[in-house]
Amino acid sequence: MARAKELTPKVLVVGGGPGGYVAAIRAGQLGLETVLVEKAVLGGACLNRGCIPSKALIHAAGSYAQMRDRFEAPHMGLSLSSAPKLDFAETIAWKDGVVAKLNGGVAALLKRAKVQVVTGAAQFTDAKTCQVETGEGPVQISAEAVILATGSTPVELACLPFGGDVLSSTEALALTEVPKHLVVVGGGYIGLELGMAFCKLGAQVTVVEAGPRILPQYDAELTEPVRRSLIRQGIALHLGAKATGRGADGALLILDTDGSEHSLAADKILVTVGRRPVTEGFGLETMGVAMAGPFIAVDSALRTSMRGVYAIGDVTGEPMLAHRASAQGEVAAEIIAGLKRRFEPIAMPAVCFTDPEIVSVGLSPTEAEAQGHPVLVGQFPFAASGRALSMDATEGFVRLTARRDDHRLLGAQAVGAHVSELSATFVTALEMGAVLEDLASMIFAHPTLSEGFHEAALKALGHAIHI
């Protein structure tokens, strides 16, 4: 066995996802000698198996569906004389190109920040030391500070182990042809985003959800336009139903709420019932780090119970979101560099790229009331928005909640086409401590969907102009 090459950086980051690579870049910017260990490809689940490829696929599927719709029913004076053609392999290749471009971008950014990337799986022997088997032989790394950013992985169902026709989101994004019958188990945002995309690409899609409604993380008012859209697109919904296993011809067996068993035709089954933190397989047990349930316990300085060991991203808990991991990564690196920072966000945006999209920041009216705040709620329907009409997408609304006593904004949500972009204005308003009068006094560009935020504030104050 070759003698291990030894590295002794100031900072060791484990995991090259949106948490880890951001932490490494920031540490590098701050002049700390930094090593990043990534066992596969830079960018993590987000870039390689999640956010980015799914958005690419959703975009392509949307374009294709529009063309097909114009072929089937001319609209706005647009029509196609023959059905549009889908070369799905080409679509996937395009998506892979997007991902590859970003992979390369991350590598370049790390290099510019003078971060040394070590490719291979880290195996810790104590809290500050790990061994990595790389293509060029073993490397031993001992660091003063360690940032764990090992991420998360899809949860498997015992009755539907991954493999063959049972897919996780990872495999679903790497399919080479559109399945004829796709059954999605789990009606959360990942399942619905992919389910809707495959439906637009021509698959017969069925969604099986154990809970009483889809997208349980959002309130029913917000998800209702998505539910209607699912039905309109011809996606079958089985709510309160449990997947029990495979039947003949690969069909999925489910148990409905009424106790009846059904068999759902499926040539592919996509299981999206959640994600779990990656806490095994890298020697975490040797590091003396306290856990909080399945997650690594951290404080607001992202410190674990072991001195000098930090953790960020999905491995530290919900919500498992790339932007949370990145924000934590910056904070952790700055704290290691001696800056006085804390991870204490007011607003954690959540977006869902279904059709229509959903964005939620802060509290819903119900949540705000549950916290004991008498509230004012302002809602603006996109049916009254010039921009929504001109985009032929009038479904949905913007809704905000403010405290009745001092009018401070507590939360903002929207559902509708392209509303994910409203997350920026929602977060800005909440983080800056906006009150309704602030929003009412600001000028939002016309014609944009963001005007809905202004109008919702006016509505909450009792003097909406356009509704």
Partner: protein, 415 residues
């Protein structure tokens, strides 16, 4: 115009006015029906007054500490300004009819005394965080400031950059946070409400009365033995006896021999009113400050009834539930700090009474008896008298009278 003028209602018990203790709303604020408007104080009862209508507070009359007359305007509420709730249809033409009884006698404890209230930021609910932008929060972290300690000047109390820059930052030290910090805060506190009443009363007592204070020690060993025995034998539900009921019995008997001590002196009229009944004031510490609820006809209460009545009136005072009649009319006052009772004190007479008696703490002390040193339970009794009415001789005899009864407890039960 939808202007609704809310006037101070008749608060009962023959009050003609009330002191504004604290405004619960600010001018310009939206107010809902039944939402608290103001706390006022009559004699010693604090009353919360709620708004009979919803709207926006247009004008407040008077400040905390001012006295408002019954029927005078307290608040102007713009009932058209209520359109803050877009979901609610507001009829702007018809002014809402005032509700018959906007006054709510609350069983809540009186508000914390204003003399300890500081011009501090609004207290935050559990889990609630101060309103401030990310840059301000970061600046505070760097300066080592706790934003919860800082009153924000922005809308909704938002803490602005200027608010934290005005704050004296903690001096950074080479080795972590300094352990001792200088404190430069100075606060002006308006003395209002109960605290003002206490101040006025104490001032009057000291201005009018030439006090003479007399201290004697009492051997309560036998009395304590009796008290402990009675407590061990008491029926379920009967109150536990403290020393006070025994003390009250001794007082009820002693005043028969010294009627001028159980009395009220009107020095302007030149009349001393002596009472056969013992209406005993019990100096009581309440969340808002000192109050003196009264045990009426203490001479007619046996030990357990007396214990129960003392408990009842002091608890009512502490909870702010005592009626006006339970807070006035005492003829003699007892002040005891229990285990905090100390060695000696110089109590201030509850003017216009002429005497106040104050048992101090009971302690075991070595005492010489019949040439031997014994451990005895000893208690000092500190009493003050109005020297215009009570001569030193009489004061001493009165206290010796009480001492004799307490040291020979059987005499407490002889007529």
């Amino acid at each position: 115009m939808g202007l609704y003028v809310f006037k101070l209602p008749d608060l009962g018990e023959g009050t003609t006015g009330a002191e504004i203790v604290a405004w619960r709303v600010a001018e310009g604020a939206a107010i809902g029906e039944d939402q608290p408007l103001v706390d006022v104080m009559t004699d010693k009862a604090t009353v919360e007054i709620t708004s009979p209508v919803a709207g926006r507070v247009a004008k407040l009359f008077g400040q905390a500490g001012d006295t408002a007359a019954v029927g005078s305007a307290l608040v102007e509420i713009d009932t058209e300004g209520e359109a803050v709730d877009a979901e609610r249809e507001v009829d702007a033409v018809q002014a809402p009819a005032p509700r018959p009884d906007p006054v709510r006698m609350h069983s809540r404890t009186p508000p914390p005394p204003d003399f300890i209230r500081r011009p501090a930021p609004k207290p935050l609910a559990a889990g609630e965080r101060p309103l401030a932008s990310p840059a301000v929060r970061q600046k505070a972290r760097e300066l080592g400031l706790d934003l919860r300690q800082i009153a924000g000047s922005g809308p909704a109390g938002r803490i602005e950059r200027a608010d934290i820059e005005g704050f004296q930052p903690v001096r950074p030290a080479a080795t972590g946070e300094p352990r001792l910090k200088t404190r430069d805060g100075v606060r002006e506190v308006k003395i209002i409400g109960l605290r003002r009443k206490i101040a006025e009363k104490m001032q009057a007592a000291k201005r009018h009365i030439p006090h003479i204070t007399y201290v004697e020690e009492i051997d309560v060993t036998e009395l304590e033995a009796l008290r402990q025995y009675l407590n061990s034998q008491k029926l379920d539900g009967a109150p536990r006896l403290t020393l006070l009921p025994f003390f009250v019995r001794a007082l009820a008997q002693a005043i028969c021999d010294h009627p001028q001590i159980n009395a009220r002196y009107d020095d302007e009229a030149g009349v001393l009113t002596e009472y056969d009944a013992l209406h005993l004031g019990i100096a009581t510490q309440t969340p808002g400050g000192l109050m003196v609820p009264v045990v009426r006809h203490a001479e007619a209460l046996d030990l357990f009834d007396c214990a129960a009545e003392i408990q009842r009136v002091t608890q009512a005072a502490r909870e702010g539930k005592a009626a006006k009649s339970e807070l006035s009319g005492s003829t003699l006052t007892l002040t005891s700090l229990g285990t905090l009772g100390g060695l000696v004190h110089t109590p201030v007479i509850n003017w216009p009474e002429v005497a106040i008696v104050g048992p101090n703490r009971i302690v075991e002390r070595p005492v010489v008896r019949d040439g031997k040193i014994e451990v005895r339970k000893m208690m000092n009794l500190s009493s003050s008298f109005d020297h215009r009415i009570v001569d030193g001789w009489d004061a001493a005899r009165f206290v010796q009278n009480i001492k004799g009864r307490l040291e020979h407890p059987a005499t407490l039960f002889m007529s």
